[in-house]
């Protein structure tokens, strides 16, 4: 079972990134819980969601120690880095997180997600770039299969956009190079 937190500014698509992760995992037969940040946790304009993904029924949807953190901005890194389990994975959006101090007992993958999405003319796709890096780094689901899942998800909503796949694959690539 993997415990993942996805955090950033409201508007950076962190809840959607988490939903995509949950949705595609479900389609591939996994059990999932997805819990949005809520109430007082939401103050200050940051949003987050936490997921647990596994092969067995998920008992506790809450956790204080996570395997993976997707940090879209500095505040998220400051809030959650300490909660990453030793040996865990941090995907850090280096477009927004500058000169950060990273722990040395975790695997840090820096991805310039905002810039990559901008270069691809899909500025709202930064969350999907980050997702690509997370999926590749955790080996949760095969990357191509996940990319297909993203396409299917948006197609069903009538919002097909081939650039989402490109964003995702750039994230996968970034993780491979890290």
């Amino acid at each position: 079972m993997l415990s993942i937190t996805c955090a950033g500014f409201g508007g950076q698509g962190v809840l959607t990134a988490g939903l995509l992760l949950a949705h595609v995992s479900m389609v591939s037969g996994k059990e999932i819980t997805w819990v949005p940040s809520y109430g007082s946790e939401m103050r200050g304009g940051t949003a987050s969601c936490r997921l647990r993904i596994g092969d067995e029924a998920i008992l506790n949807p809450f956790f204080s120690s996570m395997d993976t953190l997707i940090a879209m901005n500095q505040e998220s890194l400051d809030s959650f880095q300490d909660a990453i389990a030793p040996g865990g994975v941090l995907i850090s959006n280096s477009s927004m997180v500058k000169d950060a101090e990273f722990r040395d007992d975790i695997r840090v993958i820096e991805v310039a997600a905002t810039e990559i999405a901008g270069d691809l003319k899909n500025p709202r796709g930064a969350n999907i770039v980050m997702l690509g890096a997370a999926v590749a780094a955790t080996g949760l689901v095969d990357a191509e299969e996940f990319a297909d899942g993203i396409d299917a998800y948006f197609a069903k909503k009538g919002r097909s956009n081939p650039l989402n796949r490109e964003c995702f694959m750039r994230g996968v690539q970034a993780a491979a190079e890290a």
Partner: protein, 348 residues
């Protein structure tokens, strides 16, 4: 049926429609507002009626009218809004009508706050309104279980002609999990007691049934005795050899289940008894517990103990009953294990 990823509130709403619910009157309040938002489009699509009422008072009385007319009807609320429903729940129970109410529990008395809690246990299980009545109270621990239990709630409401409640909470309401939804069910509204004009027969009066039933005290006591005897539901996890049994419902029970798993891996014999019905409290489940159990630990997301009383009654105090109160904070499963271990040390 393929699985769908759904938010607790949305899944509960969809399942209600599929259970044949065709009327909802209610008022927005966090964390239950998604139920209104969902049903505002879904009920008309299914040929039903959605009304955003001017208050919870009005909403529940619209439900009273629709239920009296024979239709499957429901409302939902939270916190202060749930208090406002209580007068109506008493009337609907007194008139012996079927209806379903959802309380998405939030934290605190007064305005309180919107985060998850389990503070309304007494209000739900003791009859939060005036007089002599009970409601069947179902406590889902997952999005799927909410889907399953709301079907049961509508069926049992019909069977006993008595309101049933779903006691949810902010965390289950707001989280998403994969669910399998049941098929659509159409409900026949033309029960012989349903008001729709006398249509050639005798005129019907929907009011407290005590006015028309002989030996009413015995009648109503028997009605609730039968429900208490026949409608207990629970899940037990490794209670037969447990040294300490956790008792928890809803979201708390999931943390406790994890605690049982952690403890067992360390050789600590923890078990869990999870009430699925809160009224009737599953007293029968306690018969499955190790007769030499050393203690019970009642785990609730409350500031003041509530379910603990029922645990004491159910186990007849044959073992000490301790409490773990989370308040508004979801406890760590390891903290529950630690507490259990320290209780077991004291009992030695």
């Amino acid at each position: 049926m393929p699985r769908r990823l759904m938010k607790g509130n949305d899944a509960l709403s969809e399942a209600a429609v599929r259970a044949g619910c065709r009327f909802f009157g209610g008022y927005p309040i966090t964390p239950q507002s998604e139920i209104l938002e969902y049903l505002s489009w879904r009920l008309p699509e299914a040929g039903g009626t959605f009304i955003q009422a001017e208050s919870e008072l009005s909403g529940i009385n619209m439900v009273y009218g629709a239920a009296a007319a024979g239709f499957r009807a429901m409302t939902s609320s939270s916190g202060p809004g749930y208090s406002l429903l209580q007068e109506g729940i008493s009337y609907i129970a007194s008139a012996e009508l079927p209806a379903v109410f959802i309380d998405v529990q939030r934290y605190g008395s007064g305005l309180g706050d919107i985060f998850q809690a389990q503070s309304d246990y007494w209000q739900a299980t003791r009859g939060g309104g005036h007089g002599d009545y009970r409601t069947l109270v179902y406590a889902p621990a997952s999005v799927q279980e909410g889907v399953d239990l709301i079907q049961v709630a509508f069926d049992k409401a019909d069977q006993y002609r008595n309101p049933c409640q779903i006691l949810s909470d902010a965390s289950i309401a707001q989280m998403m999990e994969p669910v399998t939804l049941p098929e659509m069910h159409e409900h026949d509204p033309n029960a012989d007691w349903a008001v729709r004009g006398k249509r050639g027969g005798d005129f019907k009066r929907v009011t407290s049934t005590m006015y028309y039933i002989e030996d009413f005290d015995a009648y109503i006591k028997n009605k609730y005795d039968v429900m208490a005897e026949q409608e207990q539901r629970w899940e037990s996890v490794l209670v037969e050899d447990a040294d300490l049994v956790l008792v928890a419902y809803g979201i708390s029970s999931r943390i406790c289940k994890e605690a049982v798993e952690i403890a067992r891996a360390q050789g600590i014999r923890l078990g869990l008894l999870r009430p699925i019905t809160l009224w009737p409290f599953p007293v029968k489940g306690f018969a499955e517990v190790n007769p030499d159990v050393k203690a019970y630990l009642s785990v609730e997301l409350t500031s003041l103990p509530k379910m603990e009383d029922d645990v004491k009654l159910a186990c007849e105090m044959k073992a000490p009953v301790e409490k773990f109160l989370g308040g508004a904070n979801i406890p760590e499963s390891t903290a529950i294990v630690e507490r259990a271990v320290s209780i077991l040390k004291e009992q030695r």
